[in-house]
């Protein structure tokens, strides 16, 4: 083909670019096996110790932070996924007034820098005299996850074949039955993707959390606080384990959807 930018240049560049993206991930992973003392900067030899005794360091401070992140991520994900899915269905399926105002309200949180979202909520909690704890973190995370859920689920609702729901109605299903037994099951892959995205966003959020967490430590906040005096290798262990878990989930989802597509194609 004439249009290709040189036969080898582009593939080689792309491989190198992806390799570059992997560099800090590999670094974090390798240093989770470092036989380090307090800080994890120089290589002192290989050990499995940190993987086997993750919670041993600093009276389990790393694990406590990790646990907090899991709880916050789960609750915020459930709240955001429910509210976001409802909005997504309404936007695609229904006619209502103030459509563009609604779209704008959903878009703005994604276009606002996190530091502004964080400072704004903190200013509001301050003026209302609300003490910052786990609840305020969850309230903050739910807020910024909603829009991402709407975007993700909306694409799925829009691609739904209306004929399937019509078939349900033709078979005398009530609107509730059609929704619960036809629409909702068809939306599940989109809803799951949205929930995963929310959880990932919440789990890795630092900037908004930092403004609204008070004394509560999440995993990213723990790393930020420890950065000055050195991060223990146990933090690398947790991050690496989460990375492997997420990678497995995503690759499994990709492979199974590819397999389903193939099967459907065969069946014609």
């Amino acid at each position: 083909m004439k249009i290709s930018l040189g036969r080898w240049l582009l593939p080689v560049y792309s491989a190198l670019a992806l390799l570059f993206l992997m560099v800090p991930i590999a670094y974090t992973f390798v240093f989770s096996f470092n036989d380090s003392l307090k800080s994890n900067i120089t290589w002192r030899g290989f050990t499995f110790d940190k993987w086997l005794n993750v919670c041993a360091v600093q009276n389990g401070a790393v694990c406590e932070a990790f646990g907090n992140s899991l709880v916050i991520g789960s609750v915020a994900t459930v709240l955001a996924t429910v509210m976001g899915t409802m909005i997504a269905i309404a936007i695609v399926r229904y006619r209502f007034r103030f459509r563009s105002a609604t779209s704008l309200l959903l878009f703005l949180p994604m276009a606002t820098p996190e530091v502004v979202l964080g400072a704004g909520l903190a200013a509001q909690f301050l003026s209302l005299g609300v003490a910052k704890d786990m609840t305020t973190i969850i309230l903050a995370h739910t807020m910024f996850c909603i829009s991402f859920v709407v975007v993700t689920v909306k694409a799925r609702v829009a691609s739904l074949d209306p004929a399937l729901e019509e078939a349900g109605r033709d078979l005398y299903g009530s609107s509730t039955q059609v929704f619960l037994r036809v629409t909702l099951p068809l939306l599940v892959p989109g809803i799951l993707a949205a929930a995963l995205l929310s959880f990932a966003l919440s789990f890795d959020d630092f900037i908004i959390t930092n403004f609204n967490s008070g004394a509560v430590t999440t995993f990213p906040k723990y790393i930020y606080i420890s950065a000055a005096r050195g991060i223990p290798a146990e933090a690398n262990v947790i991050a690496s384990a989460v990375f492997i878990f997420a990678l497995v989930v995503v690759v499994t989802a990709q492979v199974s959807s590819a397999a389903r597509a193939k099967r459907l194609a065969r069946q014609g």
């Binding site: 560099v23 209502f96 309200l105 606002t112 990678l247």
Partner: protein, 304 residues
């Protein structure tokens, strides 16, 4: 991915009959109310806080409602280098991320079309950095760019870096960190538009004897504009407000602090809430102007 949705340009044909609006209101109400309470009113609180004045006889961190314009004058006089630096760093990171991502997204979206498995594997690798803590990735770069590191010693060996120079703590390191961290936000929307690029347009152009470079400049780039616009926004906005990369414990130093760093310091350390709020409002206003231009181009319905 959600980011991909930004790149949508084709207006959706009205799908399915749109029905009763009472159900719609019930569906919308919880989420919209939530966003009004926890997104919109906080912005209003921020605006009110930005005009507050220190309480008379009050402690540090106590303020009363006022209409103190002076706060804005003060923060601009005190922090104008940080404000300018933030937008300059964000712009540099956005341009670098675009240059880095375009060929990669082109390969995944166009060249690799014949191999769907390779395509999805490469996409997983593009988003893989999201699976590992943003802060740990940045700290990894801090170590990889430290004075004893392979990168710095090699650069010094070939005299690209002065013998007594550093990388960490400099603006270069901060821009590098911002670029690295936001590359996936650029690559994904670029990929979504390039993936749908109709190759027949490119063939038509070369049939008309256009030089490959001309084809790229006059056909490929204009057709991938939606992805470029979405990617630039998604990179520029978080980069301008970021304070992790520029933090002294990460890649930054005294003369690479950004607006996010001073907002954090004023709010959480100095308890100077009005100054932090005024800086946030300034940051938000600039971003809103940029988004406004985008909305004007694309329309609100295309935002989501």
């Amino acid at each position: 991915m959600a980011f991909a949705a930004f790149a949508t340009t084709t207006a959706q044909a009205d799908p399915a009959p749109r029905r009763r609006s009472r159900v719609a209101i019930l569906l919308l109400l919880p989420g919209i109310l939530y966003l009004v309470l926890f997104f919109l009113t906080p912005l209003v609180s921020l605006l009110i806080t930005s005009f507050q004045a220190p309480a008379e006889f009050g402690d540090i961190g106590q303020y009363t409602y006022a209409f103190n314009w002076q706060n804005y004058v003060d923060v601009v006089t005190d922090y104008w280098p940080h404000i300018v630096r933030s937008f300059a760093f964000a712009l540099a990171a956005t341009v670098l991320a675009l240059l880095f991502s375009y060929p990669l997204a082109y390969f995944i979206g166009v060249t690799a079309r014949r191999w769907p498995l390779l395509q999805s594997l490469m996409l997983v690798l593009v988003i893989a950095p999201f699976f590992i803590s943003f802060l740990l990735r940045t700290l990894a770069w801090k170590q990889l760019l430290s004075d004893e590191s392979f990168v710095v010693t090699s650069l010094k060996a070939v005299s690209l870096l002065a013998p007594d120079a550093h990388l960490t703590g400099t603006p270069i390191a901060v821009i590098f960190g911002l670029t690295y961290n936001f590359i996936p936000f650029m690559t994904l929307p670029l990929y979504t538009t390039l993936e749908r690029l109709d190759l027949r347009y490119l063939e038509a152009a070369s049939d008309l004897y256009a030089h490959p470079f001309e084809v790229f400049r006059k056909v490929t780039i204009p057709l991938s504009m939606p992805g470029i616009v979405a990617g630039t926004l998604l990179t520029f906005i978080p980069a301008a407000g970021d304070y992790v990369n520029a933090s002294r414990d990460f890649l930054g130093g005294p003369d690479s602090q950004m607006i996010g760093n001073v907002i954090e310091a004023n709010f959480l350390v100095l308890l100077n809430y009005p100054a932090a709020a005024a800086l946030s409002i300034i940051l938000m206003s600039v971003i809103l102007v940029i988004v406004g231009i985008y909305v004007k181009r694309a329309g609100t319905e295309e935002l989501l």
